[in-house]
Symmetry: C2
Subunit: 394 residues, 2 copies
């Protein structure tokens, strides 16, 4: 916990807030979407391009960077900012989600497809998680102290607590016990940090508690009552959007106004609009960049769940841009037909162009939400986004 | 053949020429390196980026674009320039090299790695080549008229004759017969073109003749005596650099000054320096972009054959740029250590950054050669390049 608050709220409309995070490497205006640079790169873009899109923070992944190239190496190369030449804020995920998702049977697809070895959990106990590296099969360990040590070595602006991300399919009893362990791990994270972490590194606890209102409230109060600079909402948020929104609202109810609030792994347009309305400040999600790599563009169309799968047959000879109002290079310079062809031919140019488009879309979306809060018209603007009338203006 | 010459020589130093190609979509100053956009994209870059690097022409591939997405589709989308949003000149390879390389046992590596089906030749006769598509196994045919028809549909600025690229390991007799067939195919190409091709499309014949001086001379005279706007030097250029240079010199001796001369598939720094000195005007080669995708950077170092394999262990913690004098984003913004890591992790960001570097290097190389010819100091400049003192100036 820093000796100063890192978050200032500039404006409110209802429960929605427009604010600014003041971090070691600069400021982040919120609400903000944080693109994933899990492996030290927003896949297909170099850091200057991500900055040119207007993003003020990216998310690095403790687990991935621990496995490859290793936090010691990144530390020797002056930390993650210098390593990837990104000189704005970085938030690092704790690695908890990745190590547990191996055991919970949902290893991130990207890993499954690209990596040689199989990763798997060898043991989970109070100490932490022992697992096999997907890279070389070697035995590795991660616990609260390891995660904090890695994040300190990476030198991120915001470190996240090491938690168990409890999956949806486990019962209330498992969720309660897991949440308690996450709280005990939080204390160990804080204890390690207060002795070893850089004085300027901010720290967010993670609220767990699954889909159970009392567990969420208890967890939120426990986290907010600890020495944290902000709070992240993690774990299973339910099987359906309605339940997810309810879980977010329960959690936020128990959190003090002044702490910044990050919602982990959520990035659909409608979810963001609702979560910002409920008081979330920042988001990270693989979806915009992952969809981009697979040829699906984000579009201003609720009917299609804001997605245009450019690999589909209707776009084969479609000479229009994805969206003629969009300022990105994919839209200014290229047709759906060309992107359709490139994506089907697995050309990396497609991955890159649609990623640029999707990140442009997300930035415009977030800028529009922020402006609406500042101007006291969030509700009306949210309605327009959900009706497909924004973020692009006619 | 156009009703006007397309090439003008601005300056000469010895046999080296600095000139300009005046084509339907603009001018190309020579000597020039022509990046490969075989599949309608310089892999990893979009067209505006290639133009921003200063390139004035790219090479599209008749064979690849015939297989996917098909020339009829590209024609319906207003031709290859519009399809890929590249509004400067395009030269199209004829497809001869690709169809024959299936049978000659050297299908381009890129095809081998990426494509589902196996491509293979079903028959070669006077008519043309019947083969199976690597995409779906379907039976396809390409002969001189097909190749011309595809190139006319693509609407390239320069079409190349359909030829058999005779490989190195065949004997003199095979080479002689193959070269004769290439000449008969040239006549059929011209005959089809004069009836059907767009009036503004220029046409280059291809000199074959293997490593046999008399066959090369005969072929060069035959091509130069036909209705062509320029000449490409193709086929096996020998097993060693010395032999390759000899073959190029024999060929050029038999060609008239005023025709532009393209050297197919050659792109090593020393080969380019010698070939420009011998009178070659344009080059295309997969090497700079292919090496880039695999993490090898072009560097100003003859000792290492102008290559720096960034995936090698010495670069793991090397905090220097590839070359501090290079203006590309990889060098201005990133370290060898970061590129080493990205390339080993198979991140497409590495493919892209090193491709940008290599194309920047090639552009500077060619600009330096051109300036030296214009200023009458080619020999001295060539010596400096070969000694590792250019194209970057200290």
């Amino acid at each position: 916990m820093l000796d100063r608050p890192i978050f200032e709220i500039d404006a409110r409309t209802g429960r929605a807030r427009a604010g600014v995070l003041r971090l070691e490497h600069g400021e982040v205006r919120t609400p903000a979407f944080v693109p994933l640079a899990s492996t030290g790169t927003v896949k297909g873009l170099h850091s200057a391009e991500v900055a040119a899109l207007g993003y003020e923070m990216v998310l690095g992944n403790t687990f991935h960077l621990f496995i490859q190239p290793g936090h010691e190496q990144i530390a020797r190369l002056s930390g993650l900012h210098e390593f990837m030449s990104w000189r704005r804020p970085i938030i690092t995920d704790s690695g908890g989600f990745q190590v547990f998702s191996m055991g919970h049977g949902s290893v991130a697809e990207e890993i499954k497809r690209r990596r040689p070895g199989e990763s798997r959990i060898l043991s989970i106990d109070e100490e932490g998680v022992r697992f096999r590296s997907y890279l070389d099969g070697s035995e590795r360990f991660m616990g609260p102290e390891t995660s904090m040590e890695i994040q300190a070595a990476l030198g991120s602006d915001i470190a996240l607590a090491f938690d168990e991300c409890t999956p949806f399919h486990v019962d209330r009893d498992y969720t309660a016990r897991s949440t308690q362990r996450t709280h005990r791990w939080l204390d160990r994270c804080i204890s390690w940090r207060e002795r070893h972490a850089p004085g300027w590194q901010a720290f967010f606890g993670i609220v767990q508690g699954g889909v159970y209102e009392d567990l969420r409230l208890e967890s939120a109060e426990r986290i907010a009552g600890s020495r944290v600079d902000g709070v992240a909402v993690g774990g299973s948020l339910g099987q359906e959007k309605a339940q997810m929104r309810e879980v977010v609202e329960w959690t936020l109810r128990a959190l003090p106004e002044q702490l910044p609030r990050h919602l982990l792994g959520i990035g659909d347009v409608d979810d963001i609009v609702h979560a910002v309305g409920a008081g979330i400040d920042t988001f990270d999600c693989a979806t915009p960049t992952r969809l981009g790599r697979h040829g699906t563009a984000l579009v201003q169309d609720p009917e299609s769940r804001w997605r245009m799968d450019l690999t589909r047959p209707p776009y084969r000879e479609d000479a229009r841009p994805i969206d003629e109002r969009c300022p990105c290079p994919a839209c200014r310079e290229h047709t759906r037909a060309y992107l359709h062809y490139l994506a089907r031919a697995n050309e990396i140019t497609a991955a890159r162009l649609v990623t640029l488009h999707n990140l442009t879309f997300m930035k415009l979306l977030m800028d529009g939400l922020r402006a609406a809060i500042v101007e006291g018209r969030y509700e009306e603007h949210a309605r327009r986004v959900l009706a497909g009338e924004a973020p692009y203006e006619r």
